[in-house]
């Protein structure tokens, strides 16, 4: 029930260790670090060009904590959310090599380098648990293999791209190359590994991958704190409905400027709305 306990526990468990390994392996020698993170990976202050130190809580709502409101949630919700925070599921679906590649993929699809290392949200564990349990979203495209196979195939395809760039594995690529690899999936034209990508629609896989990563990250209370989302709201609901007014326990916005690390490609966005796969991975709204 105590917020602080949950944080310290989960900070250990969310450190799957693989994240740290992956970053070290992708670097030659001793890189300069701030707050335990290599400078190259950190977002910058656009005015000074200086790297911004990792934060306990990035985002524009400093001091906002949804977990601090947990006694206002009903028991069932509290149990589900606290389990998510305190007990990330173990990796059982991916083998060690697959997990290493996937961890780096997740780190690029949803980078968390601006988060203090002990405040990172486990993403791979959540994806692994979904695949291990066979949970799907209620459908499969006729041009796609079942989700677990799709992930295995994609890992092979990503490794093939890495090898075409002269590395033995994806985790050895530098940041720019890693982002280039993933961007080619986003674009629907993988750079290499045709024998794997021929077996499925690369962009559909990309949309599933980003969805899964976003689904894990934005399900976490620390992510809610980051974006200023109020979190669970039962039995207590909301009273300040208009004009974006904060509830008494919410915080007002304090913005700061930041830009993505220079080596990253993921801050420039290209809409996929006009692609054939666009409507393919959509949550319910009505």
């Amino acid at each position: 029930m105590k917020t602080h306990d949950t944080r310290s526990q989960s900070s250990q468990s969310s450190q799957s260790g693989q994240s740290g390994q992956a970053s070290q392996m992708s670097q030659q020698g001793d890189a300069e670090r701030i707050g335990g993170v290599e400078v190259e990976r950190l977002p910058r202050d656009p005015r000074t060009g200086q790297a911004l130190a990792p934060r306990m809580q990035p985002g524009y709502y400093p001091g906002f904590s949804t977990l601090s409101q947990q006694s206002f949630w009903d028991e069932a919700t509290r149990a589900v959310v606290l389990k998510r925070v305190n007990q990330p599921p173990p990796i059982t679906f991916f083998d060690a090599d697959e997990a290493r590649v996937m961890q780096t993929v997740c780190d690029r699809v949803l980078p968390q380098d601006d988060r203090a290392p002990d405040r990172r949200i486990p993403i791979l564990n959540t994806i692994d648990e979904r695949l291990a349990s066979g949970r799907i979203n209620g459908y499969r495209y006729a041009d796609m293999p079942p989700d677990p196979q799709a992930y295995r195939l994609a890992i092979k395809g990503i490794e093939a791209i890495a090898q075409s760039m002269g590395a033995t594995t994806f985790t050895e690529l530098n940041l720019r190359q890693q982002d280039l690899t993933l961007k080619s999936l986003h674009d629907g034209h993988p750079i290499a590994g045709d024998e794997y990508w021929r077996q499925m629609n690369a962009r559909r896989f990309w949309l599933m991958l980003v969805s899964d990563c976003a689904g894990a990250y934005y399900a976490h209370p620390w992510a809610w704190d980051e974006i200023g989302f109020g979190g669970p709201a039962y039995p207590r609901g909301y009273m300040r409905l208009r004009d974006g007014q904060p509830e008494p326990w919410e915080k007002v916005e304090h913005r700061y400027e930041w830009e993505a690390p220079p080596e990253s490609l993921s801050d420039t966005m290209e809409s996929l709305s006009d692609t054939p796969e666009a409507s393919s991975f959509t949550p319910g709204t009505h």
């Binding site: 589900v80 689904g215 974006i227 009273m239 300040r240 709305s273 991975f281 959509t282 949550p283 319910g284």
Partner: protein, 594 residues
């Protein structure tokens, strides 16, 4: 306050079955002996099934409802959490294909008592009179075998039973008012109202939506928390689980959950004898019944009938017309996002809160027929991230950046009519589920008129978003809702059922759910599905009471006395209509009265 008085809130109580914070299932469930035939077996206890079992039980018949999913205890099973609500949807495998594959699961299908009504946002507009005459007026699709006036008393009845909160004057289609008051505006609906007002487009605020704006018996007033499509723990948003099922059980309906119906059995006399299903332990069981009603929705209903193929019905039960599984429809559901300099906080207040149907009808100035509505939506963070993944192509740092601005974004949904096309189908795939039953394959293709409606709808919605003050606008294509697949018609040669849901081929086999809609308009189908269910129930009761006569009847008395007990004596007098109540299609001219 740091804590609620007396400490943190608890949840379910072990010996009580709660559907909402204070509503309990207060009567012991009746159990009909296995092996004994009952009057009615209803396959699927969702929007239609819930209404059917309540009415049939209250009229004194023996009724068994079979539901593939669980009988929810909302305090125990539902959570106020986006990711944790995954279990509300029909997540079993289906194969999707065609030029424009339809996303299913969370997008449009529910599993468990209450069905899709558990996770609908709750918009409850009626169809327009013109929707029943699309062939006559616009030369496309088909006409309904009934007119708006046949359904109107059931719209009015269900609006009281749900109850629907909405404006005192609703200007479109057949103008009318609502007996429950509209809801206050939230950030998103402020956007729509502001944008429309600046452009001079009529817009209604605060409904019509199936969310209590006032307590309704033991269902409380809405608390504006925005988790409508995650299952309303408050019980303020209607699902048949909270509005009709408790009353059904009170009147002796038996509800068997986690029971997957495998096939419908046909007797030698050409009548169905009952259903075979797998119970919660996976054991095969049979339930005999005088009448079988299939209410499995647009995919599972055709699938069950196709899986029930037998000698005499090799192409699927009740499919002599060959139309079973065809003419499946979804609606254009593009979402337009706008970023505002001021905060919006779109997670507050019901996502379904304001709408305009100003562009609903065929307009000769357009290069397409039929039209679209524009409605508020309010995606929570995970959904919003997934929308932005497409709309902006966001990933990596870009996704993080956009999400940090979550509270600056507003979202409006286009709801456009897709016409029924023969090549949009539900068939059987060569993949089987855990019970060894072939799963459904859903093929979907957009046609020219559909594309044009989507384009026009997006353009208009973007205009509204900009007028409201958005500095950045983007959109994502998607679909909403599902209907068709076992459509009703006036002719046995091109439809599966008649207007009461009776299959043309088998006199004691009925279909009653969204799959019987021949066209869909640009209105969310939930209210229409429930109204059709109440009408079918009235027909079945009339038929049983007067075994000889009413089979050919098209008009049957509306049984107001069958409403759940808490409905009487609530709500306000309301504006009914300026439209004369005339029976028979095509009596009045087309056109919006807005």
């Amino acid at each position: 306050m740091k804590e609620p008085l007396f400490g943190a809130f608890d949840g379910a109580k072990p010996d009580e079955h709660y559907v909402g914070p204070i509503q309990r299932i207060d009567a012991p469930m009746r159990h009909y002996p296995r092996g004994e035939a009952v009057d009615f077996v209803v396959v699927g206890v969702g929007s239609a099934g819930g209404v059917l079992i309540q009415r049939l039980a209250k009229a004194g018949f023996s009724v068994v409802g079979l539901e593939a999913g669980p009988f929810w205890d909302t305090e125990r099973d539902w959570v106020s959490d986006e990711a944790g609500s995954h279990g509300l949807y029909w997540n079993d495998l289906r194969i999707i294909g065609g030029s424009d594959p339809l996303a299913l699961g969370a997008n449009n299908s529910g599993k468990g008592v209450g069905g899709g009504s558990v996770h609908w946002a709750g918009f409850t507009p009626r169809l327009h009179p013109s929707d029943f005459r699309v062939r006559s007026d616009d030369g496309v699709a088909v006409d309904w075998p009934i007119s708006y006036d046949d359904l109107k008393p059931y719209y009015e009845l269900m609006e009281r039973e749900i109850p629907v909160a909405g404006p005192t004057y609703y200007p479109w289609g057949d103008p009318h008012g609502y007996s429950y008051a509209p809801h206050p505006l939230g950030g998103v609906s402020q956007t729509l109202v502001r944008g429309c007002t600046r452009l001079g487009i009529p817009v209604v605020a605060g409904g019509p939506v199936a969310i209590n704006s006032g307590s309704h018996g033991s269902r409380p007033h809405c608390i504006y928390r925005g988790f409508c499509i995650q299952g309303c723990k408050v019980g303020a948003k209607q699902s048949t689980l909270v509005s009709h099922v408790p009353d059904a059980i009170r009147h002796g309906a038996e509800l068997r959950d986690k029971c997957m119906v495998a096939r419908i059995n046909l007797g030698k006399d050409g009548r169905v004898t009952g259903v075979t299903y797998y119970d919660e332990h996976g054991q095969e069981q049979e339930q005999r019944a005088s009448v079988v009603i299939v209410s499995g929705y647009a995919i599972e209903t055709p699938r069950l009938l196709l899986n029930s193929a037998c000698p005499g019905f090799e192409q699927g039960l009740a499919n002599s017309s060959g139309t079973l599984g065809k003419y499946l429809m979804a609606q254009i559901g593009n979402v337009v996002f706008g970023r505002f300099d001021d905060l919006v906080r779109m997670y507050k207040a019901p996502p379904a809160n304001a709408l305009t149907e100003e562009f609903y009808e065929t307009d000769p100035r357009n290069d397409f027929v039929r039209g679209y509505a524009i409605q508020t939506v309010g995606p929570l963070p995970i959904s919003f991230a997934q929308h932005m993944m497409v709309a902006q192509g966001a990933w990596g740092w870009g996704l993080r950046r956009t999400m940090m601005d979550y509270n600056h974004w507003s979202a409006l949904g286009v709801l456009g009519e897709i016409l029924p096309w023969e090549d949009n189908t539900v068939t059987l795939a060569d993949v089987r589920d855990g019970f060894g039953l072939p799963v459904a394959r859903v093929t979907f293709n957009l046609h020219e008129n559909d594309h044009k409606i989507a384009q026009a709808g997006v353009q208009k919605t973007e205009e509204i978003m900009r007028a409201a003050g958005a500095t950045e606008v983007t959109q994502e294509p998607r679909y909403a809702h599902l209907v068709g697949g076992a459509r009703m018609g006036a002719d046995a040669s091109d439809s599966v059922v008649n207007s009461f849901g009776r299959t043309w081929d088998i006199p004691n086999l009925y279909v009653c759910d969204g799959s019987i809609l021949p066209t869909q308009g640009s209105a969310n189908p939930g209210l229409t599905i429930q109204a059709l269910a109440a009408r079918t129930a009235d027909y079945l009761i009339s038929e049983r009471e007067n075994a000889a006569a009413p089979t050919a009847a098209t008009r049957i008395p509306v049984r107001y006395s069958l409403s759940p007990s808490e409905v009487a004596g609530r709500g306000m007098p309301r504006l009914k209509s300026r439209r004369p109540t005339t029976f028979g299609a095509g009596a009045l001219g087309p056109g919006s009265r807005g």
